[in-house]
């Protein structure tokens, strides 16, 4: 069965797509958000809901209510942090990185961008980001990637995520591709992945604002492409900041038509 469409239908759909594409690909040059400053400013003590330190190689889980902000700040040399996220009200709704990069026409996730769920809704906004060097494509460390270092005590992100999921009442079926924060992986002209060390610096930090009630998992293990992937990284400081007002012209909520439609889907789901 071949569902033939008319040349007029095809031409109209192509024209519509090319208009979306033109606007989507223009975002970066048009609206270059300034990277957040280093060192990270101290959050106002009254606004801090929780802070904890995750040892190198370990993981943690965290509930985030809508509007709360999660700050990630490695306490020593910068090293990747793998992130997974689920809706707290329905964990079958979860972070979807393929949709996140496709919908925003870029793999270059940084300040001003958002992270989508598989339901076309925004889960997280990248509201502060000092480096703009994160990896949505190549995943975290695994038992296989750390085995090459010959140190049986080295932990890895895959096992951390299985453990973190279990402590949220979830299992391997609930895991998804992870976002590696502080991981400067880019694609070269031949399609090869490369690690661009110069894009990250000690003191780098990000803040992610929850746009729905979430549970998240974090793994403090080096990215497998990091030249220091065989080392135990510094502790990760995780801070939860209380929800504050979001101005109408908030960058993440207004930067692109796609983000706006995502937030419209959030509003519909909230009824």
């Amino acid at each position: 069965m071949h569902i033939h469409r008319t040349p007029e239908q095809i031409a109209a759909d192509r024209q519509r797509y090319e208009e979306h594409q033109r606007i989507g690909l223009e975002f970066s040059p048009k609206t270059p958000p300034t990277p957040s400053p280093r060192p990270a400013p101290m959050p106002n003590a009254e606004s801090v809901a929780m802070t904890r330190s995750v040892p190198g190689g370990w993981y943690t889980t965290q509930h985030l209510a809508k509007g709360e902000v999660l700050r990630l700040l490695p306490q020593g040399p910068v090293s990747a942090v793998a992130l997974a996220a689920w809706s707290a009200t329905d964990t079958t709704e979860r972070m979807n990185l393929p949709d996140t990069v496709k919908l925003q026409w870029t793999t270059d996730l940084k300040k001003g961008r958002v992270i989508f769920s598989d339901m076309g809704r925004v889960m997280l906004s990248i509201v502060e980001d000092s480096c703009g060097a994160h990896d949505a494509l190549t995943g975290g460390s695994t038992p296989a990637t750390v085995a090459q270092y010959g140190d049986p005590t080295l932990r890895n992100t895959r096992d951390n995520m299985v453990l973190a999921a279990a402590k949220l009442g979830l299992d391997r079926r609930d895991l998804m591709p992870v976002l590696n924060v502080f991981a400067p992986v880019r694609v070269d002209g031949e399609g090869k992945f490369e690690w661009r060390d110069g894009m990250i610096s000690d003191g780098d930090w990000v803040e992610l604002r929850a746009e729905m009630d979430l549970v998240i998992a974090l793994s403090n293990c080096p990215h497998p492409m990091d030249p220091r992937a065989g080392e135990v990284p510094a502790p990760l400081e995780v801070t939860k900041i209380k929800a504050g007002p979001v101005p109408p012209d908030d960058l993440c909520r207004t930067a692109t038509p796609e983000a706006q439609r995502g937030f419209e889907n959030n509003a519909k789901a909230e009824g």
């Binding site: 569902i3 979306h20 949709d99 496709k102 793999t107 598989d118 895959r158 694609v187």
Partner: protein
């Protein structure tokens, strides 16, 4: 033994490929994205992992020589032949919900790959939870050095195919992509063919 399956435009399909058999996925009419997920036939919780596949090969597209990896770090299949050139595994499958974000709220009630996957996976006791980032055979999604990513016109000609050798018994689940809002199907979804040999 050779089994041939003709899959109509916009429809799902699934089948078992035994260890040692090959599966050929053919883009019969050209420029047709074929969304595909593999599961270990003995344990569906072991399934295709796009991130493990890309990291292990160190490059962003699937083609001849690529090993299709599972979430447990095992090789599920290897790509023996590819007459088209390269295939995406970063952009995922289309869904009613993501279509609204990408193309406007009026596209909510259009058929999409995730609908196909949910219905086909249901036959095996699996649900939406079990949909993972898939392979998009014959979908052309170049990723630039600055990160820019777009679905471009397909580069596959009629009859182009990918042939893979199974390294374990796998369940192959396909959505013959119904998308009409971007060029991944030439705005005109067409039938495809799957051939399992050995």
């Amino acid at each position: 033994m050779e089994q041939t399956f003709d899959i109509p435009a916009q429809k799902p399909w699934s089948g078992i490929v035994k260890k040692g058999q090959t599966i050929r996925i053919e883009d019969t009419f050209g420029q047709q994205a074929i969304d595909t997920i593999f599961y270990c036939a003995d344990d569906y919780t072991e399934r295709y992992s796009s991130q493990d596949t890309l990291r292990a090969q160190g490059s962003a597209y699937i083609t001849t020589g690529s090993n299709i990896m599972s979430c447990e770090g095992r090789v599920m299949l290897s790509v023996l032949a590819d007459t088209s050139g390269r295939h995406d595994t970063s952009a995922g499958c289309c869904s009613c919900e993501s279509n609204t974000v990408r193309f406007g709220h009026d596209t909510l009630y259009q058929h999409a790959c995730r609908e196909n996957f949910i219905l086909e996976l249901g036959r095996y006791g699996m649900t939406k939870r079990d949909i993972v980032a898939n392979i998009n055979f014959f979908m052309n999604v170049p990723i630039s050095a600055n990160g820019a990513m777009t679905v471009d016109d397909g580069i596959s000609a009629p009859g182009d195919h990918v042939e893979m050798l199974a390294h374990m018994d796998v369940l192959c689940v396909i959505s013959n992509c119904p998308q009409i809002n971007n060029p991944c199907n030439g705005f005109d979804p067409t039938p495809i063919r799957v051939v399992i040999k050995g």
